[in-house]
Amino acid sequence: MGSKKALVGLLAPPLLWLVVAYLGALAAIFATAFFTTDPFTNEVVRTFTTENFQALLSPTYLRIIGRTLFIAVMVTVLCIVIAVPFAYFMARVAPRRLSHVLVAAVLVPLWASYLVKAYAWRTMVQPGGVLDSTFGRTPGYGFTAVVLTLTYLWLPYMILPVYAGFERLPESHLEASADLGAKGMHTFRRVILPALLPSIAAGTVFTFSLSLGDYIAVQIVGGTLQVLGTTVLQNITLDLPFAAALGTTSVVIMVFYLVAVGRTGALDNL
């Protein structure tokens, strides 16, 4: 009996935070998306209307949402492509000492300020910047720069879960696979990758969601590129309900994504 009270007491504050602060905030955004604004003062007028969601279905905004999804997918794919071999090297190939140094090397950028890293990439891609003077060419501000910067920013979030996944992989599975006659690539496809799927999925949740909502890096290296985050930022002063509708869109996309990832069973072993 006493332990039940203690359990309730322990759970109450975080549950309160979750329901009121987190879910309440999301609900407030969702509710605001149904309001409209006074045309002159741009203040929110609390009359129910679906015009914001209808406006979202116009080609301009569908294009923006599509572009943002594309960026998120590209960043996720690039992160996977870089992280898996790197994590394999860290976990299986490198000697213990080097492995620890590499883990530290992956973690240290996380402590650097986001803005510092984004501005560093700005100096890399700008005309006359590092890339231009080293290779003679630069992608400049735009889509490519955004994908590169976001991949750089979120790479640690992908490397670490995949590294953990590799560590968890029993050596005996690989030996058994070799005993049964599978060569390197075959083992990788049939044994390692399926075992790694939960870790990769966990990493993609980070890279996908963080790329979907990002607007600061886009503003710094994206030039005139329009994504979901920058559109919300542009509308938040003059048309809060429309910005709320855009915000609701990203929440909905993430819900779908998480459900899809959950269904693969990837989140069960987190």
Partner: protein, 404 residues
Amino acid sequence: MRRITILKSAALGAVAALVLTACGGGSSSSSGSSASEGGFKVPNLTALDKLGTPEGEVSVLAWPGYVEDGSNDPKVDWVSDFEKESGCKVTVKTFGTSDEAVQLFRTGQYDTVSASGDATLRLIASGDVEPVNTDLISNYPDIFDSLKMQPWNSVRGVAYGIPHGRGANLLMWRTDQVKPAPDSWSAVFDQASGQKGKVTAYDSPIYIADAALYLMATKPDLGIKNPYALDAKQLAAAVELLKAQKANVGEYWSDYLKEIQAFKNGSSTVGTTWQVIANLAQAEKAPVQVVLPKEGATGWSDTWMVGAKSQHKTCAYKFIDHIVSPKTNAAVAEYFGEAPANKKACAETVDKNHCATFHADDEKYFSQVHYWTTPISACLDGRTDVECTDYAEWTKAWTEVRNS
């Protein structure tokens, strides 16, 4: 598993219901102001009667460069002496566009704001600012008469602010990249392809007026007389021009520091700017020059306004009085690069020619400068046969341009 899902949905539903009730129950603060027949509904607020004891602090919302307290450059400080004299500690927040100013001021955290003409009427209509008692400002009589009681700082004979100064948006270019020196806005519109990817423009719907101004000179058959009075056809033409410009734009700017950096490292080579940005860029050894193009320019005439809900009104009035005093107004005007509002400031500028250079008393010059004003549906050029587009439509048009 099912029980937890039901519990979760119940919690969600409860929260949603709670939020919707709270949102719907609260009274809307919008006073339903809509522009009609050149007038609009204004909340019934009264100006401060007399000054009380200084409250000890004042929170100022200002354009960058207006309220320098030594934190940017220790030699540029006209705030510290005011703080000592009045006992009002000044905290400053700067903003990049009038829209930001309106939104920030609405939070109620600021006591006074330097509002441009495209922000003043919106703040008045929403009840965020109150009328000012000009008798409480000792320097008011010395302000140029042409700035007093204008359509952007007064409503039906009631003053809502104290004029600060005025100036024009200029064309800036990198002298080593853009040759020959431009003298027309065509450098960022029709002739911009030479600087493809390096043109910059101001990131605000009010920039549509710059496009309209260019069309006034290049397409007179559109009939644009006032760049803020655009009917649907004229707005569409301006949007076309801006969409064509976007192909050459590298970045839009609203943060003045970012524009300085962009011109300094050459990622922007030509675009619209403020004099203060050019001055700061030149101080950092960037090879830039500015010009007021031959078509004229958009500009601003700024007004200091007092927050209706401010708790520090005496300090606010004292601060405004200080900023428009001859010495300070001269210092701001020289630092920012604009014409001062106070006649006596012209004698106090370090550069004795400052007022002449910036045409402080030249009404003919300023007739070529189209101050930022909020577009309303009653045409500002006097036309009654058509309805003009209002700021909400300009915002939608600007979003269309940015997303094109």
